[in-house]
Symmetry: C2
Subunit: 241 residues, 2 copies
DNA sequence: TAACAACAAATTGCATGCAATGTCAAACAG
DNA sequence: CTGTTTGACATTGCATGCAATTTGTTGTTA
């Protein structure tokens, strides 16, 4: 049995990212406590954590407000991820990836090949691709063996739509066009592994930085078509309203 | 009157950074609460915040432990700052700094000139330089106008010795040699402003990345001479013990 | 003598009571 | 009819009590 704090934290984060609360809305302790079946103490702890994650902002009068995100802020967070992952990729390349890391990375590539070679992609395939994609990015971050860098990336990834696969559901909804982008992303993965294997640090960094352009594309696409599948777009100001 | 939480948080952070607790030591709530004259509630909140800042780590059995830092981790955090400040400098250069930003930056440069032109540096001069240095770095971070980037830098700066002026007290203690490094840093500031003014993004990025080498130098210097003035070196494993 | 088990003390995590502060609304004055 | 003031209500922040888990110690047995 997980502690109340963990349970509340996970639930609250999900609720916020699913757009259950309006941006700018004030979060009161008692209603949330009743809704989640806990007392106010773990709720307060969770609010504090979510503030540091950047999902809540402290109200000047005390208490917390749901943070509102602009499209600009999301694009900026994606750019920061690109810059940090670029550093990670460069470090891996310069140190030379261990044979184990290389094996794991190539496992990811094989998995991507397998999925993209299918004629059509169902939901399971998408889920597998997302799992593989997250694993791939995580391998590079951990492979850089820089705790501060891993921490910075992890904290940045908690922002809405900043994490590697966060914008992929939108892509999947767009059918053939989205699949073409998936192929493109996969080719970049191939090049990136090649660069790291050959210790081409600058090339690896450049590829990783360029790689996030796909996420920015997905964002722009989602903005142009409000009917696309977008989990938490209520948090984004000027999105649909 | 500030809230108990704020007061406790600031005091605890100071105590930890001053090396009042041994790394790996378990922090019990009740003794701390008595020591700081507050109840356990704000203490728990403060522990949670300090965990997210990276100064405490959760114990598997519950409660918190003072985090131990290796010299490698500190060097890594400084490298991350260099990479992030490099991005900020590049963004400022590419967008072109506003005339106001440029004015403020050049004010910093003038202040640096004024201090370094003195024959000898007393404590006040050092304090002024540190204040100016922090202001200079902050101007660039804010000038990049990327909230996620500013956040990432701010979070990284909370790690011990990662912030811009965090390693300067060590430098000051080293007399003439330290002053020479200060001149070197100042010349880099001059070049950086010039690069940003002329919209030379790549040059600005490179200069900002190189700039943190001075901080790494200071760290190495401090390790070689344990008698240097080092506020929180107890947190660093293998430092003196 | 060493190892294991059982008990006691302490510590954490959670719930709740209370006081202080802030917020909203209604009523009154201009 | 509008602006202001006052009062009631709600909410936060803090303190503390309680139960559950962990830790340290002591006694017993092999």
């Amino acid at each position: 049995m997980a502690s109340q704090l963990i349970r509340v934290l996970v639930q609250l984060r999900d609720l916020i990212l699913k757009g259950e609360f309006a941006p700018g809305e004030r979060l009161a302790e008692i209603p949330i406590a009743q809704k989640l079946g806990a007392s106010r103490t773990p709720i307060r702890l969770a609010f504090s954590s979510l503030e540091q994650e950047g999902l809540l902002e402290p109200s000047p009068t005390g208490g917390y407000l749901i943070k509102r995100f602009t499209p600009r802020e999301i694009a900026d967070a994606i750019a920061v991820r690109g810059h940090l992952e670029g550093m990670a990729a460069r470090l891996v390349a310069e140190h030379g990836p261990t044979s184990q890391l290389l094996t794991f990375l190539k496992d990811c590539l094989k998995e991507g090949d397998r999925i993209l070679n299918k004629r059509t992609l169902n939901y399971d395939d998408s889920a597998c691709y997302i799992e593989m994609n997250d694993r791939f990015h995580q391998l590079i971050v951990n492979g850089a063996e820089n705790a501060a860098l891993a921490r910075a990336i992890e904290l940045n990834n908690r922002l809405p739509y900043a994490a590697p696969s966060a914008t992929m559901p939108m892509q999947q909804a767009s059918g053939e066009e989205g699949r073409e982008w998936l192929r493109h992303a996969h080719r970049q993965h191939l090049s990136l592994v090649q660069a790291m294997e050959h210790r081409e640090g600058t090339r690896a960094q450049g590829l990783a930085e360029e790689h996030v352009q796909i996420a920015r594309m997905n964002m722009r696409y989602a903005f142009e078509r409000p009917d696309a599948f977008m989990p938490a777009f209520k948090l984004v100001a000027d999105a649909v309203n």
